[in-house]
Symmetry: C2
Subunit: 261 residues, 2 copies
């Protein structure tokens, strides 16, 4: 079993755990947490694909036991809508709202895409994100193969690009195929785009994160790009795109985060 | 009392109604529905501003009685997270997840905006969206003063711009000030951007809609722009921006909708 499948397993009664090793400086990655809860909601929905999933982050995800309580709000003809609360003891950690369906049977009559995939050098000319790079340990990077675009990768040694953009290649380190569930993690797996701004940024805690899964990814690594346009009042948004090997946009994300100093 | 405040009133026990006159062809506007439920969640939260609110649309909002059941998931130091289900009888119509706070006390140390407000002619050179224009009656336009950018307004008589963009001015017809609650409606109030594409579009039912309220709007009308970049597998996203009279971005939205023929 792949590391990701092992780390996102939740029993039928909703009990599971936040696995060790999927963290940044001790706190589990937000995308991993959404995939963990989202996989259980997907099970409950009985449908194969997350279509749109929103998470609100309520407490840091330290490793240890959790429970996910779910409620099916509606089972429709095409989609099932489910809510879930991830708790440790009584404490809420993540609130999730998801809609699940089957993305393999889409209506392909009108296909329009005015976006372009990010311009990325081949993987071996990008820079691997290492677990011990930078000021904070990122053990998650033992599990993920993320290769950043060279001009975006300098932030960890004070060579910031000056623009709030972060692009790179994503695969699982153990070769697990990228499916629609993985999209919930991938859209939060790169370092924050604002790390490339010439302003002091301490950390960027996500408060809300929504992923639209726009297609079933073709085999192979995906290319990702994340951009922040507006930092205001202590908040920032980060918009993500995930492109598959067939040049199709398969994931689109937005998160609202705090700009903490 | 303003028409909007009257139409979004819900009693303390969660009972209220979808008001007549806020519809497009008989079904209430999705933004109005989110504002209706969102106002009640805001009451329950005890905080002044919606910060991020997500709605999943489960049934068309015909006028009539509804109930909104809420649950406070977490009351934190700065934010309160609330979920809500709007039902008619047993039937779920809208599932909402919202985070509420106080947007007047933001940290203004870092303010960055690489976006530009939409280029719009003055209001009197834009074209008022009328309730009886086009093929479907839009009674909501008796309540709203929406003036579209001339090049975006031709879709109702087959003069589409060819690009999926829709921009215009927004005010309430009765002069009600635009506040952070109104943002939940405004980000879904213009005609769909894809109406300007040269492809057959019947209707565009929203399935998920998230609004980030990024600031308290300065007095006066707001300028809005909505864009769709990707239509794929029968789904489309629509991204919105709302700018106030002081050229500040005060609302950012994204929705996932079906491209129905």
């Amino acid at each position: 079993m792949s590391e990701f499948d092992e780390a996102t397993h939740i029993a039928a009664d909703g009990s599971g755990e936040i696995a060790a090793g999927w963290d940044i400086g001790g706190n589990a990655n937000g995308g991993y947490l959404l995939a963990l809860a989202g996989r259980h909601l997907r099970e409950v929905s009985g449908r194969p694909d997350p279509v749109t999933v929103t998470g609100h982050y309520l407490a840091p995800g330290t490793p240890g036991p959790i429970r996910v309580e779910t409620e099916v709000i509606k089972r429709g003809k095409r989609f099932t809508t489910v809510t879930g609360t991830m708790r440790r003891g009584e404490r809420p950690m993540l609130q999730v709202l998801g809609m699940f369906g089957d993305l393999s049977d889409g209506d392909r009559a009108v296909e329009i895409n005015t976006l372009e995939p990010p311009e990325l050098p081949p993987i071996d000319l990008c820079l691997r994100r290492e677990p011990t790079q930078g000021v904070v340990a990122v053990p998650m990077m033992d599990r993920l193969d993320i290769h950043l675009r060279p001009e975006d990768a300098g932030f960890s040694h004070e060579a910031r690009s000056g623009r709030a953009e972060m692009a790179g290649w994503f695969s699982f380190a153990d070769g697990r195929p990228i499916d629609t569930l993985a999209m919930l993690m991938i859209c939060d797996a790169l370092p924050p785009a604002v790390f490339n701004l010439d302003v002091p940024v301490g950390w960027v805690p996500t408060i809300e994160y929504t992923v639209h899964v726009r297609g079933v990814p073709a085999p192979g690594p995906v290319r990702c790009v994340f951009r922040t346009r507006v930092v205001s009042g202590g908040f920032l948004e980060e918009d993500g795109e995930v492109w598959d090997s067939a040049d199709r946009l398969v994931g689109m994300s937005r998160q609202l985060a705090l700009m903490a100093r």
